[in-house]
Symmetry: C2
Subunit: 236 residues, 2 copies
Amino acid sequence: MARKLGAFVALSAHELSVLETLYERRRIFAAGRDIVHQGQGGQSAYILTSGWAFSYKLLRDGQRQIVDFQIPGDFLGLRSVLLQMSDQSVEPVTDIEVTEVLASDLMEAFAYTPRLATAVLWAASRDEAMVVEHLVDIGRRNAAERMAHFLLELGARLSLVGMGNKAGYACPLTQYLMADALGLSAVHVNRVLRQMREQGMVTFRDGFVSFDDYERLAEFAEFDPAYLDQVGPLLA
Amino acid sequence: MARKLGAFVALSAHELSVLETLYERRRIFAAGRDIVHQGQGGQSAYILTSGWAFSYKLLRDGQRQIVDFQIPGDFLGLRSVLLQMSDQSVEPVTDIEVTEVLASDLMEAFAYTPRLATAVLWAASRDEAMVVEHLVDIGRRNAAERMAHFLLELGARLSLVGMGNKAGYACPLTQYLMADALGLSAVHVNRVLRQMREQGMVTFRDGFVSFDDYERLAEFAEFDPAYLDQVGPLLA
DNA sequence: CGCCTAGTTGAGGTAAGTCAATTCACGTGG
DNA sequence: CCACGTGAATTGACTTACCTCAACTAGGCG
């Protein structure tokens, strides 16, 4: 986490020590049970240490749009603390391990070490670039391109935390989850995956994504990982 | 702007005066000419004082996805400064008037008055809620629901700055622009608008949106304006 | 006066959805 | 140890929402 935030703001020893005090309660959540509920306020935020989760919104007719998946190192429910109201729910994909950050602690740290606040918010704003990318995905790309882009983005993010590379990665998602993330039906996700497998681009099978031809896939999806990177501290 | 930021962080007199120094150069841009280009860095940010603009991403095949429209009071190109790289372009819909905020000035202000930085980033993070809402729109709602939700959201935002109410508002957008925002074709936008007009829900004609039956429309679109509001300062 | 852009409408095509049946892996209880 | 149920993946047949192409209208402007 310190590494992540350090990308935006060079943190002082004091600020780092404040970060330390936040790192306290470890908690475990079981797969499939919501840990943040849409429409509730005053929640805690969490940092995911192991396992996968996803944030989503529910429509009244029961449909679900997954906004993003979270992998180790990501925040969970940060916005529900920042905006004092959760506009989305968060659910673990697998059993997960998190470290809890109390809303009150976080706000207190913000008040006394505003540079820390800046760093956190900066990181949050970078996440927005990802949501924008999803928007383009769903709005203007066909099913196969969406899927390709999605799998590549996940791969790139996992590579940053050492859980994947250009050959592939372990992926605990079901086709139903992918469907809800990509705005497709589960049946169509299946068809698209088969098609891509037959074309020798990617294979998703038994919880594992293998890039059969990374370059061709990246070309096909117009994938440019620039929006995921952050080079050096922006604020000295 | 001060009012907008004050919603997140109670600003001191000193911080307000720093804000003042930022408010300097007024500039005019003509409709249809990009003011921020995808893939460029080191740009200025702007605050829109009059007119409408939109931020978008271009795909290689020439398709365009509009991410959001900006109305008076909104930031333009803030992320291109924060992340030192523009991941999207911004283009005026009408002729617009803006006040320029130099990237260097902004970063300097961030360094010396970090609480100000916090406020700005907080506001930016609130904008993300809007993008998420669009994601749900495009991913899981049909064309009519999307359109309804879109028109209602614009109306609510314009009402906040006194440019609209529950009866309607002036709207300089073309059907082509709406199509690119909603991930539809222009032809289909036209059909959907006709349908909604015939059903007595909304009328969009001659640059003016009239809500013929606001309640029914809001019900139809599952529109909940909560994500647009912010009540009091979160940080004393 | 003619051109250009925005809007409108119709006809026909297609990507993706829905419904439904089948398989397979897994866990659970008799 | 086997019968059973359940959840994920798979595939086929059919439907539909939205797209594309195309023709036409109307206003603005050099």
